[in-house]
């Protein structure tokens, strides 16, 4: 067959161009797929960077609001789902409140916890906290005194997990009631009942204090009949704990920050 005969057959050109079209579109599809994977990855990193920026913005916003006299501890209007730079942040004090069962938005008071670095906190006090074994309380006190000889202190609460007698049962107790930051004295305005009773206050008085402070904050310990214990109790707070959760695109980022009052120095930072 000659060339002329082949090209004279009807439909040859159209079939050839179809083939070329199919091959080219397969090529285009593969390039587009490769590019879309790259784009998705870049979007992921962009969101991650955004989440970091929003976290910092959230801290700035918190400082600004509390400087302007906004209530820092339970204030959903200021700290719930705030939109900022194409993302959303909330500051959560407690996922589920024991009394109302609702989420509390705002800062947590770091001084509502027992500061295990304080020399006035004894083994007996620690033992009154739930799920703390005798060995573990002993280990904490011993670890503290060993560090104190070298003029040091417990710098991270995570160091307690390294003690030989640590067990998983006491984990939530440590995370909920203990701290190594803050002023060293427990703020009776924000301490939980377990903390108040651990400090040697009997249950009746602890309940009375909690009922009293809900109406108006305690400014003097003698108001609620506490004459002793000024070495380890106070009515003021020195540190905020902010649990910031940020949503940027598909990224959910959680950061815990401990912020000193007044100077706004960051004492602790942990991001997921």
């Amino acid at each position: 067959m000659t060339m002329r005969k082949i090209t004279k057959n009807s439909g040859v050109i159209i079939i050839a161009s179809f083939w070329i079209l199919i091959i080219l579109s397969a090529l285009a599809l593969s390039i587009a797929y490769r590019a879309s994977v790259g784009l998705k990855l870049m979007q992921y990193y962009k969101n991650q960077i955004d989440a970091g920026i929003i976290t910092k913005e959230a801290i700035r916003k918190f400082i600004e609001l509390s400087e302007n006299g906004e209530y820092a501890y339970n204030n959903p209007g200021c700290f719930k789902d705030i939109e900022i730079n194409n993302g959303i942040f909330s500051i959560v004090a407690q996922e589920k409140d024991e009394v109302s069962g609702e989420t509390i938005y705002g800062a947590e008071d770091e001084d509502g916890r027992i500061n295990i670095n304080s020399p006035f906190i004894t083994k007996e006090m620690l033992l009154k906290l739930p799920h703390i074994t005798d060995d573990f309380a002993q280990d904490i006190i011993q670890y503290r005194s060993e560090l104190k000889k070298g003029l040091s202190r417990i710098k991270n609460i995570e160091e307690l997990f390294l003690l030989p007698s640590f067990n998983i049962q006491s984990l939530s107790t440590i995370l909920e009631f203990m701290t190594v930051y803050g002023g060293g004295r427990v703020n009776i305005n924000s301490a939980k009942k377990e903390v108040l009773t651990a400090l040697g206050i009997d249950e009746m008085l602890a309940d009375a204090i909690i009922a009293y402070r809900d109406n108006c904050p305690i400014t003097d310990m003698e108001e609620v009949g506490l004459r002793n214990g000024k070495d380890y109790m106070t009515t003021e707070s020195k540190c905020y704990r902010l649990n910031i959760s940020v949503k940027a695109g598909k990224i959910n980022k959680k950061t815990t920050v401990i912020l000193e009052k007044g100077s706004y120095k960051i004492k602790y930072w942990n991001e997921s």
Partner: protein
Amino acid sequence: MRDKGFTLVELLIGLTIFCILAVTIFGAFRSGILSWDKIESRLNEEQNMVTLFSILEREIHNLVEYKEKPFFGTKDHINFYTIKNIEEDGVCLNYIYNISYSIQNSDLIKTEARLGNFHKEKYMKLLRIKQVNFKYFSGGEWNNEWRDKEVLPKIIKIEIEASKNHYQKTIFIPITHSIDDYA
């Protein structure tokens, strides 16, 4: 119409045209594939680097002081303690890790050791690099070394040059709780 076939001249002209076309098309394809490969390997390198930096950034943000020797750094070696949140057997716990990055035979090496009862050690070859350069900001000036100091540096600068493509990346990571006034 009678079938006459081709003359020699026709054949030669045809062959020449065919050769020119073949060489051009081959060259175009070759350069296309080469640049595709190059971009692919560069993208790979970029992605490796971005992943490395995002991990490093988190580790340095979460950096903690632990006992006497909290932080040690030279030009191509860095060693610090950090906190990692890890879920194991349904329990989510913050562990303290000792992490170090260094260079061995132009590989970037990471070692991480979990402290205490849950001791675990890992040795990882991350990527092939030409050089790495750590610098430490004290608040007033940039230092090439950070040892025997009681305070943490404020910012760490990391420059990495990849072994291929001369691809270079620089990043500044602040140590959040070492910066004085946040507001």
